[in-house]
Symmetry: C2
Subunit: 282 residues, 2 copies
């Protein structure tokens, strides 16, 4: 029996799923991190550990070299890392993609649709006629529009501008200034903060009804709405909003677009892509 | 004769000016860097070297301990550094301020006015009734609106958004993408670039007539105009636009505000502040 393998891997761990040619999952297993942006050799070892553990759950399991595999991995856009990883793995057919791609394939299923994953960072994916394309993202410094990190940074910047009198002071902005020790404290925070540190402020932007928070979130919602409109190209494809801030944006865009919950996980997306690859469609 | 001392110091060097009680400059000298953000001891040594060299140019020069001194220094907002520096210097009266304050005092003279210094970074100063206040700035990550670094970053972000189809591609954006090696190259550049590296792209934003450049610069001009309007508080104070991008903004704001060239340098501003301090007005 020809089996396929789906892998979903990132900085905290990787998961393997073995499935038959119809996509029915036969064995699941987990292992350590698989982020090929930081550690290709460790990722290869953990991917194989998870694969062998999944194979051990299947009767008459084939050799790993007989598997068709799709791997959605953090760092999967970095071509030299993908090439090194591919050389380390035994699978007969292999495709390595960014974990955003498998997440989108899982969230959208096999139909046309748009996914926006908005957490600490943000990224879009569009699926049309079976072709999946990832857009947006680009990181905290020059992109990740609407992400938690960008919203948190906007809140800090607004607090400093309010302290200078360039915008109205609000209770939330006054609290932010007080907690950080004013201008100097905020600048000092920014000198060492990582995107995740900025993103911890995001709930105060999206949940509250402070006028400054509302202005920042209104602008982010309008930006996401405009981006979705461009991705729709005049259509009304299903839209899936995932990530930690997905529900907050969904509340604001309800009725604007046909919103749907994610159909499945990134691991299910990897399996579906492996089934298609084995059938010669991938 | 009671003399006053003005010091203008930064990362590349420091200048000292001795003047009489009327502000007439009697002796000038230069020495090495005086950035108390990075090296207080070195700054103290270079300030004294410049001071002694300036004193050597004056007949019947007093002892440095007899001088009233105002020092405009990079890092002059950092209180612990100011306290350490002050303890190392012999002057009878001393005031240490950020070099942006002395630059504004030099640019505005003793009249009311607004200064916007826009180079790699940006910062504002307002002088009203002899009181000088610095605003804005706050650095590349969360402020420095309209600065060269912020304009350059906006150009790179626009190029990546155009490549994704979220805004129209233009000749300049296509050239930026080509020069950097596309999305991945721009993200890689951003991972290591300093504000000065982003600012090197600013001339292509402010000088060209590419539609994307025009949109970015139009927004920056509108932002500066709105900030000046707030700083005016309904008045029409003289506005001095300095820094590498000052002339580009001045061309766009001509007629909107009473624009004036800077009256003098930061060193002249330090001397003027020292004269006021010696007269008991500082």
């Amino acid at each position: 029996m020809a089996l396929v393998l789906g892998i979903d891997g990132g900085g905290t761990g990787c998961r393997a799923a073995l499935a038959d040619a119809a996509g029915r999952i036969l064995g699941l297993a987990e292992a350590g991190p698989a982020n090929i942006n930081t550690d290709v050799d460790g990722a290869a070892a953990n991917i194989m550990a998870a694969t062998r553990a999944a194979l051990a759950r299947v009767a008459d399991a084939p050799d790993p070299a007989a598997l068709t595999a799709v791997l959605g991995l953090a760092g999967g856009t970095i071509r030299p890392a993908v090439a090194r990883l591919t050389a380390l793995l035994p699978f007969s057919r292999i495709r390595v993609v960014n974990d955003g791609i498998t997440a989108a394939r899982g969230a959208l299923g096999d139909g046309d649709g748009i996914m926006a994953a908005i957490g600490t960072g943000s990224v879009y994916a569009v699926q049309r006629g079976g072709a999946l394309r990832q857009l947006g993202g680009r990181g905290f410094l020059m992109g990740d529009e609407g992400s938690g990190a960008v919203l948190g940074r906007a809140l800090l910047a607004a607090a400093m501008r309010a302290a200078d009198g360039f915008r109205p002071m609000t209770p939330l902005l006054a609290a932010i200034l007080h907690e950080h020790g004013g201008h100097e404290g905020i600048i000092g925070f920014g000198n060492t903060a990582r995107p995740g540190d900025f993103a911890r402020l995001a709930p105060r932007v999206v949940d509250g009804d402070d006028p400054a928070a509302r202005a920042i979130f209104d602008a982010a919602v309008a930006g996401l709405d405009a981006d979705i409109a461009i991705l729709q190209q005049g259509a009304r494809l299903p839209v899936v909003l995932t990530g930690g801030l997905g529900p907050a944006y969904a509340r604001r865009l309800e009725g604007r677009w046909p919103l749907h919950p994610p159909r499945g996980s990134g691991l299910e997306g990897a399996v579906a892509m492996a089934v298609a690859l084995a059938a010669g469609e991938g």
